[in-house]
Symmetry: D2
Subunit: 421 residues, 4 copies
């Protein structure tokens, strides 16, 4: 019985491995070789690099410990990211100059690694590093989301405003623009000692645990994300022109970088448009506002007489909710209006929701041993936690305990706002 | 009865006002006019400015609302700091160029404001803005500490290594170097829902409240701060040479700025010295390590198999302890070795203790209305909380609930390390 | 007769146009699309851009005035360079992000423009803007050289050190390493009023004229460029370690950027190698030193007890010499040892020779009217003149009066040293 | 006879030494200690430093070679400037932090050095390093001018706009505003081989020689500098708004730094004012325009259909003219309107006149041996020559052959425009 269960699990992992690996290449299909090599800012990565880096993960942490020689002596250097323990790396802002190896050679590299992994599944099932393979596929799913956000940032620099994927669904009533989700309502939660953090059998990143107790006071959580129409009221009320609602660091950013609206918004003849992965589109009032920084989310909340939820509040509210929503498999690649209704809606998918919580270790947190332990714990300073996933997250990737994190000024992720009070 | 109590309180405030104001000028006495105008980095301030800025506080928030005209039409602009609501200000890194008004005129300004405040006490006791006067004196005490830390940073730039105040007490057994405080022991605390935050009648800054419940798991707190001798072991073990113990942002700093030891340390003929307000001195092994950033404190703790305490843990442990220790009235102006003994020692004074807690609002935090509300709440991003005060904090200024905060890379405060686990 | 001569001239221009245009594409043949889009520094350009920009020249200055509509409404913006009069342009350091249009579309653009130009030749010979077409082909030849120097800089960033073209000729006696050119001798010239600057029927850039009189004192010019062996003596004598031979700005660069050798040199196991368009090669002692800045050339000359020639001296010496030498048609793409012999040798080709002359207008200089007048005159500040062309200059492109110019710190051109005294 | 002449020369040098030294201190008299320590930009120096640095010159180059021990072991480090050969120095942009030694100690240092020099005059006349003493006094006169220009820049940063010296003379007819100097006329010069450069018995800096022949073509030189009224026409014609008249580097500066007028000009209620050493004053139309960069001078000249003179042209025209004009002894400290008249006027004093000549060595230039040889020759890159002196140059300091030099973007000197064509 045990071996039967085990074989099923191995088959599931094998299927998952190949499915995730194929999805990465599918995302790159609409791109030219030139699109794949350019890097638009230090924080972003080029597609080439992501396609190779996700492969290097399996090469370094699964194949090489199993005795396979490195595919290329310098790929570790070229495609390493933050794993200080593994060696030197190309400075992040110079990655865009690595025009060789090109996509063709990187795809050969992928095929080689995939074949070697497959060989492990077939020939050496007992010695399969299953946890690492599982971690590697989740790591790769994270990069799938980054491929889309980094590419969007790259295309936005180009005055031709290239289209990654034409928009499939029609606009209009019942279509893209959606319906008015109605006035914002809040769901109440009562105070008490609660447990948060991952517990259980499924996969989770190390930063989601250990599960631990927190005291949560009475709070209310908004039933849906803030819409563009609501955010436009903030803008119309001088949101970007007055220091009052802003944290000091946020106001410094507003002034230094001339922020006047969310990232990718452009004023054309008195009307706001925004750049999407389907090209330029007029702002739809009922869509969730997107591409705002923590500073903007926090300022909006203060202006609205509310606040952002802590990550504990968010997780307490989300734990009973199935992690379903609009993810990247829907190919819309832009947040959709939350349908009218009652109760907490759109917690998962559409837009990442900034929380009021800086990203810190949970009590008792221990990173995994070795270089993979650098995965999350190294970044626990100067970052804020986001929850819930977005319209460019892979389906099945999210959980209530999932902790994403970005610096408070970051705007190029699909990040939005859910209020608390 | 009520009016009697009230008069006593007013007299106490009046005495406090004049005492604090006099202390500021006393700190500036050993300085030349040139010392008072120079500004050594964007984060520091010149003495001139601090002497004037603390006066502007009373001018703006106490006298002008009481009908006094501003002393000078441009002093608000010259000596404003972060009060965005009050108007424009001189860019922080250009303040050192404001050679006029000089110290003589600024002292006239102080005398004018002090006389007007005294007039309010005498002539209009009923309309005294007591809360603002109290806030102003505590604000001024904070600047007294900054005057000393900023001055130390300025003097450290000068190859002549000027002396602010000669060291009074002799070195040697029983003297400055102190005795070996013995091996580090920890005091245990048991888990439960606790209350932290200021509550009660005395003064507190707005960021210390409201008092609220937190869940604290079992923890142990080190009985004393980490010593130079202990920190030298970390250095000898490659502490600054290997990325493993560091947060990613911290390691970036180490490399970019060439950190090899705490700030102000210099290697001379194979021995470490450090610059103090009494000039260059050899490192004393039993003194608490000082002038480390959060990144260094965190790396040291990880290397030592421990961690930094959260601010809740620190406050739970410190609440029963009287806020006594070495403050700036002792004129030693450098941390002293913790005496041998048992139990929690040196929680207050000597060195500020970095906590693991980012600086965020307490649940239900509401800043004061108007410009004084910008005092603390505006800075609740990208900063870490420190607790306990230092050897350059004014006596009587500290409380268990007191929350100081600086960016994680800041090293020019008298900041040290207390471990938890 | 006149019309016959005229037709011959037109045919020559037509042949030249198509020959130059074809050469540009031939240079790009060994490159991948990724190589063509990356830009390695603000001063360099990507290949894409150069291929399109040279085409835009004909589009803007030849076709559009002849009534052709612009090929694409935004190509002017995307591929403009310094022609302020023509409109806005993409910031130079963001050009590498313009992944669209890709090379395929740019080649379509080239074919379109070439066809339109050909149509002008055939259908409207009378209205041919011959001077502009001639200027455009010389402009394009300049960009051919820049394509190679910019590409070399890009490849040098890649730890894989890609090869642009394998080295054809074998090393050894009579081969690449060459023979010892012998001790440096100087050719004397006597003082007097001389004329320099272009005069005559052939093409020249506007900055080469007007021809004018200068007084030149007695001088001697070295018969050949300085070799690597000679430059290594300078290095061995502490050339990069002592401030004495350097101009102040030069010494600042040496220290700020850590210069220890010419650009592209690397020390491997105690021996100097350099990166070439054929990959890494050991330094050949008899080859002319290359990829030095003006500061290095000037410091070397001072160290050697000599100086750099003025551009007037250089031109007086070079005017009688035919402009022949090693240019890019030889496909060696690296300077070759000057053969032993007597008299001035290797004035043209191999390496550009830094002169002591800042780039300023000749007396009576008038730039051409309109945007093409921005071609050269706009840059007459903070640049030094170089003379003679290099091993990556197109054949037939150079003249004795030809004035190249770069900032004194530039090192990525094939620039070397000829002494005077 | 010979010894008699010699004694007279020695007395003259002695008188000159003490006169120049006293003048430096007189310039510092109106200043507070705070004014003396602040440094407003990397290119400027603080007064403290200049007062000490000019003393260090005599200490290092006259007294120490004569056997005197250094006054203070670290003053060489603190007050060295560009003499790389003499040792390390405080980074230029951190000099403002050297609050110790203060002015009192620096004045003690001056008295010590002056007494030692006097002792040499009295006791060891034979061993007097006369050339160095003469060089030192001229060096100190240059710093006297810099003290005023650097101080003006410092005061201009202060919103209180401090006054260095009240304006003595009244405005109005016959007063400060002056009379209309009339339309601009030009004086013609005919072509030929001319000699320029210093020759003869008097003092000159090394960069003024050797005297040498140049060929100068026919040219005309404007009889007076360009006025504010004329410059305002350039501004009104979009001078700062259109790229056409500008060199590329100049236009980059205009845009990056938002230049809209000369330095120190401010628009108040539609009228231009400028900051002077006597405080804010409305722009006087007939005064020479001042505080323009080379880029602005060059752009103005191009706009006006003229050009700047070369330094050879300027010197050929100025050689017969006595070096008289408004210098700093007149205490007006601002350029005065050129009086109406005919012929070349105001060549000396009032405003430095930008030439079209980059600062390069004259043919045969050899810097003095040793560290004093670093005085001028080190800076022969990226600078433009100015001629004629200004209203803040010391009287008697100028000559027709005198070559001043600043980077083309420098605006804080009293620099103006004389046209040529």
């Amino acid at each position: 019985m045990k071996s039967r269960t085990d074989a099923l699990r191995r088959d599931a992992l094998r299927e998952r491995y190949h499915r995730v690996r194929a999805a990465t290449l599918r995302l790159a299909e609409p791109l030219t070789p030139e699109d794949c090599v350019a890097q638009s800012m230090a924080e972003a990565s080029r597609i080439h690099w992501q396609v190779a880096h996700t492969t290097l993960f399996f090469d370094t942490f699964a194949l090489q410990p199993a005795g396979c020689p490195p595919y290329h002596p310098q790929f570790g250097f070229l495609f390493n990211s933050y794993y200080e323990a593994v060696g030197a790396r190309v400075a992040r802002d110079r990655r865009g100059l690595m025009t060789r190896p090109g996509l063709a050679e990187i795809e050969r590299y992928r095929r080689h690694v995939d074949a070697e992994i497959e060989r492990l599944f077939v020939d050496e099932p007992a010695s399969l590093p299953r946890d690492l393979l599982m971690l590697g596929t989740h790591h790769e799913e994270q990069h799938q989301e980054l491929m889309l956000t980094d590419l969007k940032h790259l295309f936005a620099q180009n005055p031709l405003r290239p289209v990654y994927r034409e928009r499939a669904s029609p606009a209009g009533p019942g279509g893209i623009g959606g319906r008015d989700p109605g006035a914002l309502r809040f769901t109440p939660f009562s105070e008490g000692v609660r447990a948060i953090g991952h517990a259980g059998a499924g996969f989770a990143f190390d930063n989601e645990g250990p599960r631990h107790k927190v005291f949560v006071a009475d709070f209310e959580l908004a039933e849906r994300p803030v819409t563009n129409a609501e955010y436009l009221e903030f803008m119309a009320d001088g949101g970007y022109a007055r220091p009052e609602p802003w944290l000091s660091d946020g106001w410094t950013r507003v002034q230094a970088q001339g922020w006047q609206a969310p990232l990718y918004w452009e004023l054309r003849d008195g009307r706001w448009w925004s750049f999407t992965l389907s090209g330029m589109r007029p702002i739809e009032p009922y869509e969730p506002v997107c591409h705002v920084s923590f500073y903007e989310a926090d300022a909006y909340a203060r202006w609205a007489g509310a606040r952002l939820p802590t990550e504990a509040e968010w997780e307490v509210a989300a734990e009973p909710v199935p992690p379903e929503g609009q993810f990247c498999d829907e190919a819309h690649l832009h947040p959709r209006p939350t349908p009218p209704g009652t109760g907490l809606r759109a917690l998962f998918g559409d837009v990442w929701e900034w929380t009021a919580s800086p990203y810190t270790p949970y009590p008792g947190f221990r990173p995994a041993a070795g270089a993979v332990g650098e995965y999350n714990g190294k970044f626990m300073a100067n970052q804020m936690v986001l929850r819930g996933g977005s319209c460019v997250s892979p389906p099945g990737h999210l959980r209530a305990s999932y902790r994403n994190f970005f610096p408070p000024e970051a705007r190029w992720q699909f990040s939005g706002i859910r209020l608390a009070r």
